[in-house]
Point group: C2
Chain length 204, copies 2
DNA sequence: GCATTTATTAGACATTTGTCTAGAATGATA
DNA sequence: TATCATTCTAGACAAATGTCTAATAAATGC
């Protein structure tokens, strides 16, 4: 990675002050986490792009693990804010809203693929993870019995589709022979496929 | 990872002889590649589970990069053998046959997510990668014009579904609230969803 | 049996990693 | 101004990594 990165607000002047340092580190970590996965995050590299001395990580987060958790929590709270905000304004909330927060979902996929389920499942609210909450909402809304295996398979399929899309969009478009000029159109059509998956939802 | 692994045929007696060493290293690497991604592969660890001195890697493969390429090539050739063998016995070949070689597709996903497209796209035959070949077959079989964006979107969606499934099956089942006893049934239903994606295919 | 090639081993080497610390700089408070 | 807590810096440290090599062991060809 080039030392002269495109992250961090200024790059020339180092970041100062407790909150600013915390924020810069968390944001830089979140980016690296979604980009390359937890094990590939280097605390020294993260500190460099955040414009901060690497010793600060131990000071503010206790170590790499604490920094990763803080970054994941940061991404999850952003996503949760988007999700609730979307459901407030009248629009029907869909199964998972992966197209919205690709960084969050990419980070989840990275953690899962590295086997770090603790990190991937950290985004809980009242004991329930974010995707699990979407499932529960959808099932009550559609009045599905809890043991309907057909529905569970449908949900699992659409979850796999959306996670796969979030994590591998570029590659999927590549093997589908979609060039740059067609990307937007194809992406929109895939969104439609996902939206229509369960048919029209009844109003709450 | 525990040093006393479950890999390698014997574990007690070290592997000897050029071909045997090569094979043991490639197989151990393929496993680690699918499990944790290229950057997480340690040549020393791989040599240990293969029952081989780590110096052999430089001797037989020139270094880590060569070993990774050999492992990817190994997985791709297995998959290609399965694919052609399947299309011979009369059954209709489907878009991608991801459920068949999860190790291969997991490895592909790992490479893509780390940004190592060279490694992910190495599985070429006559200049065309494996997934790209599936696309071409399907399009000629269904007589789809090359510029049909709706079809490309359908193909991209099913590719994302299958890749996402291969890479994240455990996690998807987890968030879908599928417990151990339901796994097999749900998995079968998802296979059906994929098989019926493009409707019945005309005979070749 | 001897010579030559191949296979194998153990280790050196530089680099990178995460952790932790002693001390300097900074800022607030009294 | 003097005191104190916070913030920040530079670096030490052990562990792990990929690369490469000199030396030994084994096998092969004559």
């Amino acid at each position: 990675m080039v030392p002269n990165a495109k992250n961090s607000k200024c790059d020339s002047r180092p970041v100062r002050g407790g909150d600013a340092v915390r924020r810069a580190l968390v944001e830089a970590t979140a980016g690296a986490l979604a980009e390359a996965g937890p094990s590939a995050v280097s605390v020294r590299e993260v500190a460099r792009v955040a414009g901060v001395n690497h010793g600060q990580i131990h000071h503010y987060f206790g170590g790499k693990r604490g920094l990763l958790k803080a970054a994941m929590h940061h991404l999850a709270s952003i996503h949760l804010a988007h999700a609730t905000e979307n459901s407030v304004d009248g629009s029907i909330p869909r199964a998972l809203q992966i197209a919205e927060d690709p960084q969050y979902w990419r980070a989840i996929c990275q953690c899962v693929m590295e086997g770090d389920l603790e990190l991937a499942g950290l985004e809980v609210e009242e004991g329930i993870s974010v995707p699990r909450r979407a499932l529960a909402t959808l099932m009550t809304r559609l009045e599905i019995p809890e043991t309907d295996l057909d529905f569970k398979a449908q949900f699992a399929a659409v979850a796999a589709l959306q996670l796969g899309w979030a994590a591998l969009e570029d590659f999927v478009l590549l093997i589908s022979d979609v060039d740059e000029s067609e990307r937007e159109a194809v992406r929109d059509r895939v969104k439609v496929i996902i939206s229509n998956w369960f048919g029209p939802l009844p109003a709450p």
